[in-house]
């Protein structure tokens, strides 16, 4: 069971985190593994914090929900405050560098990189922050391979935005490499 990686992507409503979760899960599947993706629904999701969860495994995935995450991504302060303590003590926290990281967060690694800024400034589209974030996660954890992650991204993004999104991924990788 330890072969399972549990990922929680958090932020606010319009940030495309569910799509990011789907892409992660799909890349795992393309790669021949198993994956489950889920999310919180409901009217409360409209305003407040939003989350998407992905479990990636080589084996059968029984319990489909993430309890404590191996990897936690937070793009907004509200989301970070809400979910920070749902990270495993030996987990990895990825946050946008604009955020204040609560003092009591326990993690094996905390990575604060300018995800939103990169999306806006380097790609020119705030919308692709989710893809940038995927790049960051990949580069950091290799939970899925770049090859399949790229495939999965291209499968899911709107026609005509392929290059943009590829670039976003690349910028994500770079954020880690350069860090």
């Amino acid at each position: 069971m330890a072969v399972q990686t549990e990922i929680r992507l958090t932020g606010s409503g319009g940030q495309g985190l569910i799509l990011a979760g789907i892409i992660l899960a799909e890349s795992a599947i393309l790669q021949g593994g198993n994956a489950v993706q889920s999310q919180s629904y409901g009217p409360e999701a409209r305003g407040g914090a939003s989350k998407a969860e992905v479990i990636i495994s080589e084996e059968e995935i029984d319990f489909p929900k993430v309890d404590k995450a191996d990897i936690l991504l937070s793009l907004t302060q509200i989301a970070l405050d809400k979910y920070a303590d749902s990270l495993k003590e030996d987990g990895i926290l990825v946050v946008d560098s604009e955020l204040d990281i609560p003092e009591d967060v326990k993690a094996s690694k905390i990575v604060a990189v300018p995800i939103l800024k990169t999306a806006i400034e380097k790609i020119g589209k705030a919308m692709v922050a989710n893809i940038v974030a995927l790049g960051v996660i990949q580069e950091l954890t290799n939970v899925v391979s770049k090859e399949y992650l790229e495939k999965a991204v291209l499968n899911r993004v709107p026609k005509g935005t392929e290059e943009l999104n590829k670039k976003a991924l690349q910028e994500g990788y770079n954020l880690v490499k350069d860090a």
């Binding site: 009217p43 409360e44 409209r46 305003g47």
Partner: protein, 273 residues
Amino acid sequence: MASKLIKDYFRTDKLPHIWCPGCGHGILMRSVAQAIDNLGLDKDKVCIVSGIGCSSRAPGYMDFNTLHTTHGRALAFATGVKLARPELEVIVVTGDGDCAAIGGNHLIHAARRNINITTVVFNNNIYGMTGGQYSPTTPTNEFGTTAPYGNIDKPFDIPALAGAAGATYTARGTAYHAKQLTKLVEKGIKNKGFSLIEGISICPTYYGRKNKKGSAVDMMNWLKDNAVDIKVAEKLPKEKLEGKFLIGEFKNTTEPEYTEEYMKIIERFQKER
């Protein structure tokens, strides 16, 4: 702290409401409160009833006796409240789905009975709460998540339907024309009988997005540009009305009111004693 109207008539601790940025429901809800304020009604004697939907969340924010019922049934619950306690001013806040889809039967029957309830329909031409399915007021050919190839249904004209069913007061306003809407709701409340006021709302999140209507501002502009007051319309040539919709007062008549008629039966017995 909030504007006086909000402070006086809303449960300010429940704000901000759950509605999306730019959702028209907030504007309409304010108009309802404004109408109540204009009439100087006793808050303890006002009961606001709704069903289920984004629109039907309104009563939760309003500082009156408030009742959030099951989907479509607001008018049936409200009928019970009103008949049981006719001194209450009963106002139903509902959506196009709540009122005209699942709740259509209660609508036409409350109208038929001419029971003194004022119904304000927040019509956003879509089921907002469940994420953008077409409603009985979605225009033909437009899109909803369940009308992926364009809606083939005809939309209801809700005030006309309520009028044909027996409502004695019917009108239509919009979120853009919020002042007029307030007046229409006021007159609806004053009408001793069943009143239906349709308030055209905007749902930028689902209806807007699905139908490429642009931002909330764009949708407000659409309301501004396409609503024609019935008094103006009467003087316009037909061509000028193409694709437009009418706002204003459509029906305003007097007929025996249900709870009054019922009280007469009770009085007969009381006299006999």
